[in-house]
Subunit: 241 residues, 2 copies
């Protein structure tokens, strides 16, 4: 049995993926890798660490915080620009994209896999992100798989098992695995309670609703209220500019 | 006219490339990007800065030094392992490979291009490195070009104009452009004078010999002596283990 590296953001997708891979029993050791690329808040990274502690998984956090502000300027997730509220598909949400974030994360994870003799790198790209994040699309994932095979003598495979799933499917998997979702964070804002209003919250809320389980994290409003807001956001569709 | 990003190591290939792109007059602005990934010495980076100063080019150095030691362990270029002497093709030279270095550098350069509205990323991969660095091979470059096209809405092209050239061809180009090769460093060791014995020195020495110009940097021995050594290294071929 070989080792695997999992790119772990501390969000619900990659956290489910980590539980999923451990549960599969296919790997002798699973190594989690998180990257601090200068996010506005470290809530996700703190929760990623707690999940790894709970699961007894080795966890590395790479500090690239200075790069977020200097090299990859222009994203509201790494700069002083206000995080937009509203539907994911709105034009304004494009400002949440960190330029080339996934290729950067994956290139580091692949380097880590090579240096630690792991044979696979897992990441939680999924269908829900497609519209707004080019580097979550299947075409990108397939192209990354191809380049991963060529980057070293050692064979490393890139795996993105959720690439055809949506967030609701992922919570469905997590439900079976009894994933502790209280140790995940999705809201773009780093407040004590999730805002329930940003695109990320909206998608998360609807995913839990689809899977038929309550979201264990705290929102600023009651579950019923944030669920109603999220459904309204989808019904209204993206704002036309 | 658009902007271009050049991955600049401070070695002779990427320095020639920078001069070459500036000389082409095709870009309104050329941005140089260097990465400190925890190299054993900063000589190349210091020289990259001097070249940019001389050419009036904006230069960013990304500091990822901690990653070299923590994440990408196992390479003699970033750890305490002795740098091997001798021919490039020897098995021992594999320890000079930083796991997935080029994909990491390129992913950062592409992110920088996206955030600074540059349309092209240039890097100096060339045929001479193929045997020992998988991520300098044409197949890798082609696969990286494909993934680069997919990573963002903004169109960024990856360009590696020297991928079919060897180091001798590159010095030939530099000779025409009157590149200041005194501001480049190739030796794996960071001493005051180049050792003339490592694989990197050997290849550089033979490249200058092929182009018929003297190498302006200082070696521990005379040019005639290091040239004779380099020719002998090639004649003997890689040591069989």
């Amino acid at each position: 049995m070989s080792k695997a590296v999992v790119v772990l953001s501390g969000g619900m997708d990659s956290t489910t993926l980590l539980w999923d891979i451990l549960n599969s029993g296919k790997y002798a050791e699973v190594l989690a890798l998180s990257v601090n690329y200068g996010q506005r808040h470290s809530k996700e990274l703190d929760l990623a660490a707690k999940t790894c502690e709970k699961l007894g998984v080795s966890h590395k956090i790479v500090d690239m915080a200075s790069i977020g502000s200097s090299l990859l300027a222009g994203s509201s997730l790494t700069s002083g620009i206000d995080v937009p509220e509203g539907h994911y598909e709105e034009e304004s949400m494009k400002s949440t994209v960190v330029p080339n974030r996934n290729m950067i994360l994956l290139s580091l994870a692949i380097g880590y896999a090579v240096s630690s003799d792991a044979k696979a790198v897992f990441y939680g790209a999924h269908a829900g992100d497609h519209a707004i994040y080019p580097d979550c699309r299947k075409e990108f994932v397939e192209a990354m798989k191809a380049v991963t095979k060529l980057c070293d003598w050692k064979e490393v495979e890139l795996e993105a098992p959720y690439v055809d799933s949506d967030k609701g499917d992922i919570v469905e998997i997590g439900k079976q695995l009894q994933v502790d979702y209280s140790l995940t964070w999705t809201c773009y804002k780093g407040n004590e309670k999730a805002c329930g209003k940003c695109g990320a919250c909206g998608e998360r809320i609807l995913a839990f609703d689809k899977a038929g389980i309550p979201d264990p994290i705290d929102y600023v409003k009651s579950w019923e209220e944030v669920l109603a807001d999220a459904k309204l956001m989808v019904a209204n569709g993206p704002e036309k500019k």
